[in-house]
Symmetry: C2
Subunit: 140 residues, 2 copies
């Protein structure tokens, strides 16, 4: 079982988003377990992230991947981190410089998405990665 | 009033997606009107797209933009096209080569998203573009 913790600021108010994420959680049941942690400020986000064992940052300066390349990256990180990975979603201005020098950084797009959509896209790309790795037709 | 037509394959089944898109439609009421056209096959998609006055393709080979640059691009295209723009969302393999040589192509990400999420992201980026252009704080 892979354990993914996603740390971000704010709290979702949109029911549609919870529904969308719940759909992927269901599909990944028994394989990937998601935990969502909500922080109120950048400082709290960093304090929480620093306690995590293995952290990947989502930041505008991060590396962009195709979904195939992300699947490979994700697989490597899962092995490296012993199946426990935390993702930290930075705000519109990204994560603080001092924090992000020591962790792998990824970026979903040159575009800025809302925190909420970023969370959904990340969950969907993790689902997509598991489908790519098992060779299903989901991603085609 | 800007009229945006979005042509894609399939038909959404997800209630959450309709809810999310409806939220942006509401925010853009009186400013941007969206029409969604669903086609069954690639051939039908192309036939429909060819009838449109001004078409922008979403394709993996498309140009990627930051949200700020997209706002500028969108604004230029709206002026150029007389406020009527159609977006065509290609499948996972993109749009057919012969079609896409004559139209502007954009790409939201190196990653592949579902048709549905692409549609939502496009609507959200158009909303974001209007907010960027009017100098609001939405995108910050």
């Amino acid at each position: 079982m892979i354990k993914i913790k996603i740390l971000s600021i704010g709290k979702t108010k949109e029911a549609w988003l919870e529904e969308a994420i719940a759909e992927y959680e269901k599909r990944l049941k028994g394989k990937v377990f998601f935990e969502f942690v909500w922080l109120k400020t950048d400082d709290q986000l960093l304090a929480a992230a620093e306690k995590e064992n293995f952290v990947i940052g989502l930041d505008p300066q991060g590396k962009m991947f195709s979904s195939d390349a992300f699947a490979e990256f994700f697989h490597e990180q899962v092995i490296f981190a012993g199946s426990k990975i935390s993702f930290v979603i930075g705000g519109a201005t990204g994560l603080p410089q001092k924090f992000k020098t020591n962790i792998p950084l990824i970026s979903l797009s040159l575009m800025t998405f809302t925190h909420q959509m970023t969370r959904l896209l990340l969950v969907e790309q993790i689902y997509r990665a598991t489908e790519i790795l098992k060779g299903s037709n989901y991603h085609k």
